[in-house]
Amino acid sequence: MLNYTLRRLMAIVPTLLILIIICFYIMRLAPGGPFTSERALPDSVMKNVLERYGMDEPLHVQLWTYIKNIVLYFDFGPSFSQKDRTVNDVIAQGFPVTLTYGFWSAVFVLTTGIPLGIVAALKHNSFWDYVMTGLAIFSQIFPNFVLAPLMVLLFTLALGWLPGGGWNGGHWSYVIMPAVALGTSYMASIARLTRGSLLEVLNSPFIRTARAKGLPERTILIRHALKPALLPALTYMSSVFVYMITGSVFIDVFFSTGGIGQDFISGAYSRDYSIILGLAILYCVLTFTLNLLVDLLYAWIDPKVRSNL
């Protein structure tokens, strides 16, 4: 297992390198640059600006310098659009914000989705099952970009309970709406997955055996059925969590949380190469690490997987 973990961790280095090289060149293909502005800068000013950011060098030299700075100093370069800040500053400030409400969103998804799914499976075809199905449909037709404005209309304008946006140091009242808006559709998916797989497990031979042995239904559910039944939900959740962190651009922009999603958007519009590249690397490392964690978790839960590692 240790061997496996190390092997996986080592694979991240070439992956990142390839990612950096591809991203670096693709960004430069887009017309316009960070200093393209409505009034073209006079040549002498442009020359100074390019020199300052090392952009007067040939592309491969810039790439080499970029990689060298990361490896030697963990320096991801200066931001071109937020001139007082470096990419390290931007990530250090924005990532904890996105991670915080992403985490609470995941907690919300798991603590509501899994119980809903279990209840729906146990009370198969009952009222609760229909409630769950109804919720699932509701969250599908109300994706976060519809749900978020509706929530703001209700909780901010009509009821005045929650602030309509901002972060305010992560005060709970500012976290609730982003977390719920981000998580709702995933919550429904988790509930459906849990319901389906639990139903399947409950109908499988080993559960029948357990029942035949006379084990109480409660023990069967908790000790035998739940662990395998949660596997699909868990796999799903792991990839979803990365999505929640990296795909929360809308939430960041809409709720003005100050999270990194906003940087990704504005970085792309302003051709802030170093921000885009820095965030791409962050997202890549994040995806990689979380996938690894999930695989390890999987192995811990499922003996079949463990023996294959």
């Binding site: 640059g33 937020q82 309509g164 901002g166 519009y269 051709r271």
Partner: protein
Amino acid sequence: MSRHIPLLSALLSTSLLVGAHAADVPAGTTLADSQVFTYRALDEVSSFDPQVIEDADGADIARDLFEGLYNQDADGNIVPGVALSHTVSDDNKTYTFTLRDTAKWSDGKPVTAGDFVYAWQRAVDPELASPYAWYMELMSIENASAIIAGEKPITDLAVEATDNHTFVVKLSQPLPYFAKMVSHTTTFPSPKWTIDAFGSDWTKPENIVTNGAYVLTEHVAKERSTRERNPMYWDNAHTVIDKVVTLVIGDDSQALTRYRAGEVDKTDIPAGQYPSLAAELPDEAYALPRLCNYYFTFNMSENGPEAFKDERVRQALSYAIDRQVIVDQVLQGGQFPAFTFTPAATAGFEVPAVDIAGMTQAERDAKAKELLAEAGYGPDGEKLAFNYLYNSSEAHQKVAIVASQMWKQKLGVDVTLENLEWKVFLETRGAQNYDMARGAWCGDYNEASTFLDLLTTPSGYNDGKYSNARVDELMAEAKSSQDTQPLYTEVEEILADEMPVVPVYHYSTNIMLKDTIKGWPIHNVEQNMYSKDMYIVAE
């Protein structure tokens, strides 16, 4: 040095006697207990460093944090800032500013002429590489261009502190509106000792030292920045607002929702919503003239279509646009139909009576048909077809659709609309890969040359590559003339005749402002806000 004071400065000296501007609270006003002003900004600022800032939101904050030689009052006139007054030499090329001796930095150090020398040298320093270095070139400061080009050391910039409170600037040529230009953020002083100590981290709230009415106390990028009263500010006794909070809200309608929820006191009105908001909240919705123009530019370079080289075609296309319809039916935000390039709101500019402005739309339409037929296009001639390029935005799209319909119906012209993402658009237009394109400009300072210079041959924003020797000559002459109106009138007349661009409308700013907020500069067409001049009344 004799004391020849040109007209502008004479006017200026008069206004200086009135004294500095501060929050002007009428007697009997009940102020609100909490003097906290919160407003919405669209995006994170480019910087807090006055020499580096290049965006309007950043400039709003910088005007609170720093104070330059002159400030603007609520109408946009210049009033004393750190400088009390100035004199101009006989040749109109040397400006001597007298600084007040009570001005202090937030760390208690006095603000001296040396701080301005340092800041202005910094602005042109190739090492700092400020994108706004061009502004110093525009101010015609001697040697600025050579320093930016790396041909001379920064110490050669013709600025000097003859003593702690006398700041002398030498210009390479007389510039009648020079004094107006020193209220711009690029010219604000900066604290050398702080910059030396903290380097690029000097603008962080824990390090920054400022000389304005406020100090930066909090900055959470992309979420908020907070500034609070600077007790060291020389006029702190007259400041009323204690705290100013800028909230970054990227989405227009979300910003409006938060305004309605009382989270912000001022926000922008989303496009097209001014009429309904003005009806619903008449005391809070404003449509204010703004120092910006909107136009279509013909590609007159070699890449451009042959048809656009014919003046009559350009005129016909301009005459056929019903500006009133665009303003009243499409934009609905109190914009102004434009027949000249320079907005009427520009200070000291009188809109010349160009022919096109005096006609009815029916007359213009008839004239347009006639002109196009003369040029050999239209029903009896060749079919005119071209591309119109604009940057992706709902508002620009609406204008483009309406304009192309007008051309189609009135002149039988086929227009293909093409929209591009902002930077791609700039690149494409800048490389003259278009037939006709959208153009717009907001004045850098409140004087007609900030617009008209754009259509001179060497201008960096002349993407249509229009070139007229007489226009170049007149604009060069205007730089040192004491009476610029006749020159600008002639330029506008040439433009109305040769029509290198189609002026469509002059902008308005559409904002929501809580009626308890007083002193926001609704009469300043540049909308340059100074929180120190504002106050909040009790509800």
